[in-house]
Symmetry: C2
Amino acid sequence: MSLPRLDFGDTDERYHQGLNVSEEDCSLLTDLYQLTMAACYTGEGVEQRRASFELFVRRLPEGFGYLIAMGLAQAIAYLEKFRFRVEHIEALQRTGIFDGAPDRFWSLLSEGCFTGDVWAVAEGTAVFANEPLLRVEAPLWQAQLVETYLLNTLNYQTLIATRAARLRDVAGEKATLLEFGTRRAFSPQGALWAARAALAGGLNATSNVLAALQLGELPSGTMAHALVMALSAMEGSEDQAFTAFHQYFPGAPLLIDTYDTVAAAQRLAAKVNSGEIELTGVRLDSGDLLALSKEVRSLLPSVEIFASGDLDEWEIARLKSNGAQIDGYGLGTRLVTGSPVNGVYKLVEVDGIPVMKQSSGKMTYPGRKQIFRSLEQKKDRLGLITEEALPGEEALLQLMVKEGKLIKLPESLTEIRHRTATTVSNLPVEVRRLDNPVSLQVKISAELEKLTHQTQKQRTSEELMVSG
Amino acid sequence: MSLPRLDFGDTDERYHQGLNVSEEDCSLLTDLYQLTMAACYTGEGVEQRRASFELFVRRLPEGFGYLIAMGLAQAIAYLEKFRFRVEHIEALQRTGIFDGAPDRFWSLLSEGCFTGDVWAVAEGTAVFANEPLLRVEAPLWQAQLVETYLLNTLNYQTLIATRAARLRDVAGEKATLLEFGTRRAFSPQGALWAARAALAGGLNATSNVLAALQLGELPSGTMAHALVMALSAMEGSEDQAFTAFHQYFPGAPLLIDTYDTVAAAQRLAAKVNSGEIELTGVRLDSGDLLALSKEVRSLLPSVEIFASGDLDEWEIARLKSNGAQIDGYGLGTRLVTGSPVNGVYKLVEVDGIPVMKQSSGKMTYPGRKQIFRSLEQKKDRLGLITEEALPGEEALLQLMVKEGKLIKLPESLTEIRHRTATTVSNLPVEVRRLDNPVSLQVKISAELEKLTHQTQKQRTSEELMVSG
C-alpha cells in the first residue's frame, strides 16, 4: 500500500532518498506496534501508570564470556529529544492505522516528552546474561515507545565495544589497534557508532574522519592501493608513488603489497639504509602476514609494521603466538559486522505489580533489579533494587536520568575507555579467554528467587481461573 | 590524542553525543587516507586527471548464488550533496595531519563538488563476482574521496536486498513477509536502510514507522508481550488484553504466546465461533512453530497465522517443507545483521591508462567494463565498455550521472521491487537454490582477457626495470 511520502516541509523532493535520521525525527524511529500499544493503553486509561522495563541479554553471544555495556550516551541523547512534532502526528493520522484509536492519544503524543527515570550501568562496564544494562521507569506509554530505539542503540554499541575490548585484551597494551570498518559498516551512522564504541572499548584510533572529529579525536590511516596504482601508472613506478606520498605525509605508513611485497621492502630498505628517507611504518594488507612480517622486519628493523585484511581477535592471537612481527592492526569487517548482541527490553513491573514473561524458552525475572558485584569474590549477585549491597559488593545500576533530566554528566571517551580496561582486567581468565569462555557466576538473590516463584504461582492460578 | 570536538556552530554541547549523519557532513564521512591521498595527488599535480573506479565483489558471500544490487539512490543523493564547508576544512586543518599538504588542496576542497559520471546497474538487478555494480569516472581526487561512502551504501543495501529476494523466493508470492529488524539493526540509520532494501528486495512491509513514512509506505506490526503482560497485570487476564487491543486495532494480529499458546488459541476460538469477535490474525513468537501453527490452524481455521523469532530463509524452507500452517513471517535479526557483502572499489583506469591490482589473491581486471547479459543463454559476458552487445545480450551498466548531474529519474520502490522479482525469476534454479548455489556463468570477453594480459605484462616489465 502506498502513501504520500512523509513531508517535513523540505523543498528538495529527493531529500528523503538520503534516508537520514535527524534527531528531530527519532521519536518515529520505532516499531509500529509501540505506537498502537501506546494508543491501546490510552484507550484503557492506563497510559500514565508507572512501568519499569529492563534491557538485558538472555544469554551471552556464542563464544563471548562477557559484554561491555555501551551506547548509553546516545540512548540518553535520544530520550532528551523525544518529542512528536505536528508533521509526525499528521503523517501517522494519514496512515489510517489509528482510525480506531482514542482522540486522547494524539494530545498525549503532541504534548508529551520523556519524564521518566533511567537506571543504567556506566558505559564500559562488563555485564552478563540476565543483568540489566538499563532500566526505564516511566509512564507506561513512554516506557513502551522508547523500546525500539534504546535496543538499537545499546545492542550495537555493546557488540562493538565488547569486540574492541577482546581485541585489546588479546593484542596487548602496546599494540596499535585501528578501526578501519567504515566501508563495511551497516550504514554511515552505523560506521560512526562503531567508531565511538570501538574507541571506548579500547582501540587507539579510527580512520573515520567525521567520527573522529565529532568525538574530538585524531583520525588515523595509511594509504591505499589506488594511490600506488595511479601514481605508478602516471609517474612510472611504485617507488615514485612512495616518494610522493612520503613527501607530504612523512609520518604515515606506506602500503607495500600492491605488486611484490618483499621487493618493495627491499627497495625501501636500501633508501632507509642510505639515509635517503626516514620511514616510520609500512602496511601489509594481503598474503601470508606471518611470513611477510618477519621478512619485512629483517629488512626494515626499525620500522613499524601494520597489518590489515579480515583480521579479528582469533587471527591476532594466532599471529602473535607464531611470533609475527606486527606492531599494529587495522580492524574492519570482522569488527563492525556479524552476529548481533540480542538484547531484549522486558516489562518487569507495572503499577507496582511485578510481572514476568513465561513464553517457552523465554522466561524473564520479575521486579526492578540491582546488580551487586563483588570484585574480590569475582562474582555477581542479581537482586532486587530494594536490597542492600553486602560488604565488598558494589551496586552497578545507577540513577542516570531523573524525571526526564540528566543527573550525571556525560563521560569522556577517555573515562569510558579506562573503565573498560579496568573492568576487563578484573575478570577471571576463564571469562576473558577466546576459546570456550565461561560467564562470571551470577547468583540470583534469595529475594529475587522468591519474587519469581510468587509471580509464577500467581500467574498460574490466574490462568486456571480464566481458562477453567 | 585529543582535539577540540568538531564544532558545527551548534549551541547544544551534547549535540554530537547523538553522532548523527547530516547530509551536509557526509563529505567527511570517509577514511582519512582518502583525504591524504587526494592531497598527495594535488601536490603531484594529477588531481584533475580522469580516473575510473569500479565497485564489485571479488566473490559472492558464502552460500549465495547471486547478489541484488541496491543502494544506488542513496549513493547518488550523497554525490549530489558532496561539498566541504568552511567548518569542515578548518577542522581538518586543526588536526595537524595535513601540515605538509600543498595549499592548493584546501582551495580544491572548498571549491569542489562532484563533477564526474556514474555508470551503474539499476537497483534490483542480479550481479555476480567481478561484475561492477557501479563505476565512477571523475577527476582523480573526487573519485578517490567518495570511495568510502559509496562502499558503505552499496555493500549494506545489497546484502539486505539479496536476503530479502531469497526470502521471497523461498516463501513464495503469497506469503506476507514483514521486516521487523530495527531493534537489532546496526544503528538507527542502519535500520532505515535495511527497511528500504528489504522492501525493494521483495518484503511486503516494515515495522519501522520512520522508514515507512519516508518511503511513502504503510508501516506494519502486531502487538508485543509487554501489552499482554501489562494489561493482564492491571486488568486481570490475557483475554482482557486481547479484547482491549482488538477494540482499537481490529485488523491487527494478536500475539498469543505470552503464557500458554494453545490455551490462548482455544479461548479465542470460542469467541470467534460464538461471533463475539472477528479475528484476522494471530502471531506466534516462541516454541515449536511447526507444531503450534498446525494446532492453531485447527482451532482458528480462518485466521491468518504469523510467525517470528530468529527466522531466515532456511528456517522458512524447513517450516514450509514440513507443512507448517503459516501465512506470514516477521524477519528481524537474521535479515538485518550478519556477514557483510564485501564489495571493493578499485581503480581500473587513470589518465587513459588501464591499471590492475596484482596483490596476492586480490587480482582485479583492468579497464572500464560493461556487463552483457544474455537472458536466453542464462549467462553473462564481462567485457569492455567499448565492446558492442551481441544479439540477445543486454548491456547492464547505464550512465546514471553525467558531469555531476543526475540524468535518470529516481525509481520508485515499486519499480525496483518489480525488477528484483523479474531478475530472480530469470535466474537458473541452481543459482537460486539455498543449498550450494552456484553463480551464473560469467565469461570474460576476449578483449578483456587481452587487456588483462597486456596490463600484467607491462607491469612486470616495469617492475623488472625498476628493481633490476
